[in-house]
Symmetry: C3
């Protein structure tokens, strides 16, 4: 089986962007309270519809009613011990696309126990920074994972490229895609590894640029397969970040400009955002 | 008894806006975590003071200490099983104005059970989109309600005008007012139905334009009767939305401009915002 | 022992600002959901790294892993009965700098019980408005405290200067610093009282200007002693507020401009922000 090429990726990214704008897919999220507003606003900006819940039966409802689900481990609360496995199981059993964001993997016992369980639910897309991807692969005992976590709060202390083996191993395990965020973003389905360029140094100076990228991956996952969803979301983030920096030189105005550019970006410009692709050996 | 006319409505809206700016009424809110920041910021922008809590006794304190209360069902957490009935009962028994926002009515068992109970507490103002108003009237077994919910996450799939019968029935049951949000907004006290015009297509592209409208209704409800409070809040939203769109063409800059226009709108301009009024037959 | 003078304060403020920008200290926060996003964004804007949690063992992790901790009492949830004492005890035992923001002290039984316990943990910095500082000193039975709370939701009904005795008594009890926010800000270590000038009337029209100041105090507390941390954070807030008001006349654009100015302020400009210092008699 031949890996997908740049031309086909471009066409399918255009289709994904247009399908979201045309169908306004509803995406349910269980996500942290720090950036929940930005997650919803970015999902709306690209053309999706957002709904957030905390309770188990409500999360299961959103799995059934929505086009995809976003599960972010940012700020755990006690009820999540019940909610998170139920939403993951429901999505997995229904074959509904879902995105896992293993924020701060390694901090706290509930986080570790839940994320360990999640291996069996095989999320369609995993998004994280390099330290999180390395630590999750380690927790799931996959190749390329790291035994000791370099997670320091919510920021990465590792380089994106250092997580390449872990990302490929995770993608092969899930059968989906993995997106590693950093100065250069890396997306893989286990067969190709794509590097997406752009963004802005100011994205590290606003909270939630990573979480909201995960939420936007889920929006595209409602209309496209995992690899295309991850590539499309990553591309629109890099495009909007670069454009926002052209008109804003500090974080407050940058955040507003970034949402504006997410909203204004055309399907063609998103699909043409610089992308380098390499095939992964077996 | 003659229904209230446009001239009197205009005068009382001017008085409401001025009373809020003069007295800075404190309004307690139990509201969702997605848009809680925008709710507080819109309440402050129009001249109110905001306080948000989750615990039952703290909510009861805010009922006693504040001028009005806002109860939004957006993101339920387990403690709400206790908090929400206690705050509704406290407001109802104290005769304190309070606003119910039955977000996503029909999703999940706790939401349904609590909202069913709320019928007896007769909220001063109910605010929702058309699907929510139809579903709440159905849940309360009132005329014009819908048996089957069209609620899809937090967005409406019904037109505002389709909820006219349900809104009138709810207002007659509570003895207060009902505000139905959509492209054109509808407000009723069961005797008149008023249609408020303006706003912006971008209000659907930022999260919380509905929730925060409910929060601002509560601010005006601290100084004015339910119908006037609902009309005033709806008018300032339509005015600020129209003005913000004139200076902002995308959601990020729109949200900042919208808060600016809420803050800058004069009492006269709010009271003069286009409004069509019709009387309802018995 | 001579109290610290203006020249030395200036030098140490410059060092604190530069140390934060150079070392990007991670600060854990347990804070309210209303302004949690702004707290994180202001911490990032001045050069820190932010991480927020709710669960007890995760909070303890952040005490160990971070440079300082911020504990804000804004929106209590049931698990905080366990989380808050554990994080305060952990910080106290580890000698890690931590900032207490006793938001709405006096509202609700859990808030009162927890804040009473906190006396023994002696926070490095206490930040609040005048009513909160008076009420906390009263709750801790210190000189200058108020028996009856004037706390009305989250806003102050007292003037900053009225809390001078309470602030000095609290600082002497903790051995740290106390920052009282208002039109003029007051900071004391129990030996000197410093008055910091600037800011904007619009800071009361956006939610979280107080909470986020507490979060930024914690960022500087990771690299500087309590008094310097409180003075530096207060100075950058007054500077950024004044500058933001020069380019923004309403709350929505003001908030974006304020974050921009926090990010752009130089160490020298922060250290030179107007400050009046007086010594306190024994």
């Amino acid at each position: 089986m031949t890996a997908i090429g740049r031309a086909e990726i471009r066409d399918r990214m255009v289709q994904a962007v247009e399908a979201v704008k045309r169908t306004n897919p509803m995406v349910g999220s269980i996500t942290n309270t720090v950036t929940i507003n930005l997650v919803a606003n970015t999902q709306l900006a690209v053309g999706g519809s957002a709904a957030m819940v905390y309770l188990p039966d409500e999360a299961e409802f959103l799995v059934r009613a929505g086009g995809a689900v976003y599960v972010n481990f940012g700020t755990l609360i006690p009820i999540y011990e019940e909610t998170l496995p139920r939403v993951a199981r429901a999505a997995s059993e229904a074959g509904k696309p879902w995105v896992l964001d293993p924020v701060a993997v390694g901090i706290g016992s509930m986080r570790t126990n839940l994320l360990r369980q999640f291996k069996e639910y095989r999320p369609s897309v995993i998004r994280g920074n390099a330290s999180e991807i390395l630590a999750l692969a380690g927790l799931w005992e996959l190749d390329g994972g790291s035994d000791r976590s370099n997670v320091r709060g919510v920021d990465s202390t590792d380089q994106v490229i250092a997580a390449k083996g872990a990302a490929v191993a995770l993608a092969r395990w899930t059968g989906g895609a993995v997106a590693v965020s950093g100065e250069m973003d890396m997306v893989t389905d286990g067969r190709i590894v794509a590097f997406s360029h752009g963004g802005s140094h100011l994205m590290k100076r606003i909270t939630g640029s990573g979480c909201s990228l995960g939420g936007v991956v889920a929006v595209y996952a409602a209309v496209a397969p995992p690899l295309i969803a991850a590539l499309t979301a990553t591309a629109v983030y890099n495009l909007a970040g670069r454009r926002a920096e052209a008109s804003a030189s500090a974080p407050g105005s940058f955040q507003a400009a970034f949402l504006d550019e997410l909203y204004k970006a055309s399907a063609e410009d998103i699909a043409d955002n610089p992308l380098d692709i390499e095939e992964v050996g077996a």
